[in-house]
């Protein structure tokens, strides 16, 4: 199932399918690109950032950025 990264639940895993155009370069430097596997690690309350695990390290992303990343989530 495809969903926004910001909508993923704790512990859900998936593969990045698409990234909004102007965000692509922004997150590439943090190791997030189309085709990469990631896992939702933490969601901070009150529209706070999300933390995902990519390639055995953690990356935190603002909610605005997480909204622009579409992930194919494994059932």
């Amino acid at each position: 199932m495809r969903k926004k990264l910001s909508e993923m639940d704790y512990g859900e895993e998936g593969v990045v399918k698409s990234i909004e155009g102007d965000l692509r370069n922004k997150v590439a430097g943090m190791g997030i690109r189309v085709g990469v596997r990631l896992k939702m690690a933490t969601k901070q309350p009150i529209k706070g950032p999300v933390v995902v695990t990519v390639d055995r390290y953690s990356v935190s992303l603002g909610l605005g950025i997480a909204d622009g990343i579409i992930v194919e989530v494994e059932e």
Binding site: K26, G29, G31
Partner: protein, 173 residues
């Protein structure tokens, strides 16, 4: 010539900076910002060379003031050799920045720092192969213990600009 230490945040830039320069450092503030960076000097072939500990950045397209300062320092010091420090446990995003700097035409030396922690996490990097592909010196280092620092210094003079197309060809062949 200057030496710029660049890399993602928290990869050990300052630890390597301290190894290279000892304790004699100058704290500077970029005019108009509150982003501090440190400068110091090291001996290289009987010459005192300025070393700048550049604020950490993920890419050359700045997202915040610290990254803006990092990019500014890079652009204002065209005659520099960039020592690009990579956290060996986070190789991909470190290489992203390194490639951007190489693409800008700077001579680059890569330090694969936190080599010991990578080993602990069962991360193995073929540094020799990486060196062949990139065409720049690649040296495993452990800044906290000083391992690899001597080799890193000795290879600074080998750094020369690499055409990014050549790296692409090396990857294909």
């Amino acid at each position: 010539m200057k030496i710029l230490l660049m890399g993602n945040p928290n990869v050990g830039k300052s630890a390597i900076f301290n190894r290279l320069t000892g304790a004699k450092v100058i704290e500077s503030n970029y005019p108009g910002t509150t982003v501090d960076y440190t400068r110091g000097y090291m001996r290289l072939d009987d010459e005192d060379v300025e070393v700048i500990d550049v604020p950490g950045t993920f890419s050359l397209e700045p997202k915040d003031v610290a990254e803006e300062v990092a990019v500014k320092i890079l652009k204002e010091n065209r005659d520099s050799v960039v020592v690009c420090i990579i956290d060996s446990t986070k190789l991909e995003r470190g290489l992203y920045l390194a490639l951007e700097i190489i693409e800008e035409g700077y001579p680059v030396v890569i330090a694969l720092n936190m080599w010991d922690i990578a080993k602990e996490k069962s991360v193995w990097i073929d540094a020799k192969k990486l060196e062949r592909v990139l065409g720049v010196p690649v040296v495993p280092t452990i800044a906290v213990s000083g391992e690899g620092i001597r080799e890193l210094v000795s290879r600074i003079k080998e750094a020369s600009p690499v055409d990014i197309e050549r790296i692409v060809r090396n990857l294909e062949g």
